[in-house]
Amino acid sequence: MRFSFTEDQRLLAEAVREVLGKSCPPESVRAAGDGSARPGPAWRALADIGLLGAHVAEQHGGLGLTPLDTVLAYEETGWSAVPGPLVETAVVGPLSVPSGRLASIADGTLVVSARPADTPYLPDADLADVIVAGSTAVPKEDVTLTAHGSVDATRRLFTDGLTATADAPAAFDRAAVATAAQLLGLGRRLRDETVGYAGQRRQFGTVIGSFQAVKHQLADVAIGLEFAAPLVHRAAYSLAHEAPSASRDVSAAKNAAGRAAHRAARTALQVHGAIGYTGELDLQLWLNRVFALRAAWGGDGFHRARLRADLLERTPLPRLP
């Protein structure tokens, strides 16, 4: 029993944090809402350090890593709110596109948009070369895309008119865990930005972060994130080890991370007050990403149903391993 990460796993996350610190500042996230044709500079940086090819087999130019190896790195991609279909390309892509094209995922030249079979919307399909619906992969030029409004301007949504085949289970669950990790990172970003703001903004002659009404809300944000993280890490472990409880663990992780990030978002907005409700402040980038990702790769209702089925409708599997 050792519930912790290896040096390599931590180093990958640190490397992602470092390159995104340079290549993915808030202004670059914001610029992704302007409708460019290809992903921004962060994409190149993530290809260079190997995250895009992390789940591509070594024989195809990738690193052949497991979800456990990259879960901390995906938290960092959430922290920086990386624009573009990263989970769809780097997590779903290697399990869905023909093997001849995997090297292009690893080198950052092939962009994939994907959706679960029972979900209508493709994120960032305008940036993609390949569309995956369930387990069906189609070149974008063969698909008629229709744009739809999206809560997150930096993550546009499209419908494809395809009849999707059933999800490859591993692809869905891996995407759900990577998305959960991003939600954790986003929640931490919102927490830290808000702690910083509350330590500077003065009202009634003192900083608002000294008021208990503010402190206690932020303490609850910290608690939510603190206890969501081990569920996300455990789900990544279950996927890496193909544990019988993997789908249950993934659903627990996605819902916990979604709730914790949502609480962080609500509190961040409340503590910032009216300035937080503006498009001008960068806060909106992280808020809207949380609202978008909470519904991605299974919303709460989907994952609750899976948890109910596993825990109430048959003899539950043991908690560990």
């Binding site: 993280a229 609750r304 825990l311 109430l312 391993p321």
Partner: protein, 372 residues
């Protein structure tokens, strides 16, 4: 990351499970009654005879030198077996870690083996009528008397002090001091001359609480734990372990969550079923978080203020699970025995060991770095 248990750990789990299956008594009368207290003390003695009363202690003091993971395994099995609450918990889980860190060899040899066997059951003497959440406002005094001390003042909310043998708590040894300074940590027998213990009826009808009056109580020099004037630092070591791992291990909440799922399986109320599933995953989160904390401790990190995150989480989870169980029981709830007793006990969780409001202040100031 490795979430499997080694064969040695599995063997330990099997031994604990087997012993409990053969030896754990059915429900005992409340430990807050005279009869129940004695029955719980007998149970502690049976545990001690199997060297299971304090598995994480060194062998020389009656334990097994178990590491944190083994202790967590013990706790999982203990609560899954439905074994009785631990009447020795104040001593074994709260005082003992402090005693091992700050006590002299003589103090350890004198107190720990008797504590492990429940020959001495310990009560806490922290709160005072004017010092609750604001513990540093305490007024009870200890004044030098030859080579010892004289204690005066009043302590309150002292669980089972009516039946316990010894108590531990903070007294002001420097009359000029304020707040956290000038305090000293004392240990003394409750049958000392000048000690009066008065029971207080509780919400649940029992007399588990007590107030303790000290009237010129003579305590020898070796009743001081840690240095004179060092009491706050010594006491905080205890409260940190209380809030975090050692008072409320995940095993207790996992067992409650498993029983809650049993109730939910028989219910057609989708809202309650979902809430029960959520509580179960929260108990899993607490378990995994504890394993992660154990790994961090093994790497040399400290729990520190992070234990406040845990205290809020487990106390609110425990209460929520019992509230849910009562809702699932519906009209049967007011006479539901263990669930009702558990609910009444869980109500105290957000209050004892530092109220959750104080914990949230600690989280905001010491974990997040917000200004005081």
């Amino acid at each position: 990351m490795d979430l499997t248990f080694s064969p040695r750990r599995e063997a330990f789990r099997a031994e604990v499970r087997g012993w409990l299956a053969a030896n754990a008594p059915g429900p005992l009368p409340s430990m807050d009654t005279a009869e129940g207290f004695d029955r719980h003390r007998d149970w502690e003695r049976a545990l001690a005879a199997a060297r299971l009363s304090a598995v994480s202690w060194p062998e020389e003091h009656g334990g097994r030198g178990a590491d944190l993971i083994d202790w967590l395994i013990f706790e999982e099995e203990y609560w899954a077996a439905g074994a009785p609450g631990r009447v020795s918990q104040n001593g074994i889980f709260l005082l003992a870690p402090t005693l091992m860190a700050y006590g002299t060899d003589g103090q350890k040899a004198r107190h720990l083996p008797r504590m492990a066997r429940a020959d001495d059951v310990w009560a806490q003497a922290w709160s005072e009528p004017e010092a609750g959440s604001d513990l540093a406002a305490l007024r009870a005094t200890a004044t030098p008397d030859g080579d010892g001390w004289r204690l005066n003042g009043q302590k309150t909310w002292s669980s089972r002090a009516v039946y316990a043998d010894w108590c531990f708590g903070l007294f002001r040894t420097d009359p000029e001091s304020e707040r956290h300074r000038g305090l000293t940590y004392f240990m003394l027998p409750l049958d000392s001359a000048g000690v009066t213990v008065r029971p207080i009826a509780q919400l649940d009808g029992e007399h588990g609480f007590a107030e303790i009056f000290f009237d010129d109580v003579r305590v020898p020099a070796d009743g001081v734990l840690g240095g004179v004037g060092q009491g706050w630092k010594v006491a905080m070591a205890t409260t940190s372990s209380e809030r975090g791992l050692t008072l409320r291990s995940p095993g207790r909440f996992m067992a409650t969550a498993d029983r809650l799922l049993e109730l939910a399986r028989g219910s057609g109320d989708q809202t309650l079923r979902d809430a029960a599933v959520q509580a179960w995953t929260d108990s899993e989160a607490y378990r995994l978080h504890t394993f992660a904390a154990a790994a961090r401790l093994a790497e040399g990190a400290q729990l520190g203020a992070g234990s406040s995150l845990m205290k809020v989480f487990w106390s609110e989870l425990d209460l929520r699970m019992h509230e849910l169980a009562l809702e699932l029981l519906g009209p049967r709830a007011p006479a539901s025995g263990p669930w009702l007793d558990g609910f009444l006990f869980a109500l105290a969780g957000p209050i004892y060991a530092g109220t959750n409001e104080i914990q949230r202040n600690i989280i905001a100031e010491r974990v997040l770095g917000l200004p005081r």
